[in-house]
């Protein structure tokens, strides 16, 4: 069956764009990733709940390329993300995702290169052990910021 959309594999996976770099961390195995520009754009749409077709349109418009030409690469990349357990298949019946034309896109962000990530496993045992300690309501709170 063809996959129509994916969603981020929460709560195991968290991500953030920091200084323009998309960093993704999977707490289940302690692996972390740095995404290249086109991968970041795909990730952004997955986070927003976009169907694959809309995500492809978005990426194509961001890089001023033909959606049909990059669709196989987008799908291939999504399968890699699924293999890495960073995303999972989303039910079709989920509330319609907000699929917007890339109104905030401006011009092309960069020349298109195939979506890719660097994967790092060197801090696995540190990251796997660390998160257990609570810092929430009864220990090590910071002063209100």
């Amino acid at each position: 069956m063809e996959v129509e959309r994916y969603c981020v594999n929460e709560p195991s996976v968290i991500s953030e764009v920091i200084d323009g770099e998309t960093i993704v961390l999977n707490f289940e195995n302690g692996h972390y990733y740095s995404f290249n520009p086109s991968a970041s754009e795909i990730w952004r749409r997955v986070c927003a709940g976009s169907p694959i077709a809309a995500a492809t349109e978005w990426v194509a418009s961001r890089f001023a390329v033909d959606p049909a030409a990059i669709r196989p690469e987008v799908e291939g990349f999504l399968r890699r993300l699924e293999e890495e357990q960073l995303i999972r298949r989303a039910a079709k019946a989920v509330a319609p995702a907000v699929v917007t034309a890339p109104a905030d896109a401006g011009g092309p962000v960069a020349a298109f290169s195939s979506p890719d990530f660097e994967k790092f496993t060197d801090m696995e045992e540190l990251l796997l052990l660390d998160p257990i300690h609570e810092v929430s309501d009864s220990g090590w709170p910071q002063k209100s910021q």
């Binding site: 920091i18 200084d19 801090m123 660390d130 609570e134 929430s136 090590w140």
Partner: protein, 234 residues
Amino acid sequence: MSVVGRAPRVSVVLPVYDRENYVGEAIESVLAQTLPPDELIVVDDGSTDGSLAVVERFARPSMQVIRQENAGIGAARNRGLRAATGDLIAFIDSDDLWEPDKLELQVGALRERDDLDLVFGHLVEFLSPDRADELGGSLEVGTDPVPGLLALTLLVRRTAVERIGLFDEKLRVGEFVDWMARARDLGLASLVLPQIVARRRIHGGNTVLIRSNRDYLRVIKSTLDRRRRAANAG
């Protein structure tokens, strides 16, 4: 082998924030060491409960209590590090326990091997008895020993700390991951002893909230940036 010569002095840093129920047991596990530390520095990070009173019950010449306004675990550990005078430094959190031979094993390892900078050990978890009824079914407790790469299980040479630097006080969680990543990037040598050296208390808390904490991503980003700078410079 370098076991001959003066025995190294050992400092223990114990930060505490609002852990009146547990900090006494943590201190007892330090005082019960078969190789007692030369100094125990307790940093009270602005506790609002009875933690300080519990700590003061253990007052003795080898114990120093420092009070500061609440500033977070990184800042509290740093305060203790600045006060520490030992050649070797260990940390314990206020809710955790050391095994009685923790320091003896680790001091022995560092005295035997000059090339080692940091020595860890194995770790087990235990469900805090006071929360067992409430949390028994809901939390995973790792009763099998695992390599414990945590401040709790570490004994480190002062010379290594001087190279690694202090804990990042801006981080609310992940401060040890960040510190250890810096240690590795310096090429410092570490060893994980096969023995269990500490027991980590599991007493609830909101794991999901912690896991969503973005500080881990910041630690990763700064680690990647540091390595890229080093690669470009090299």
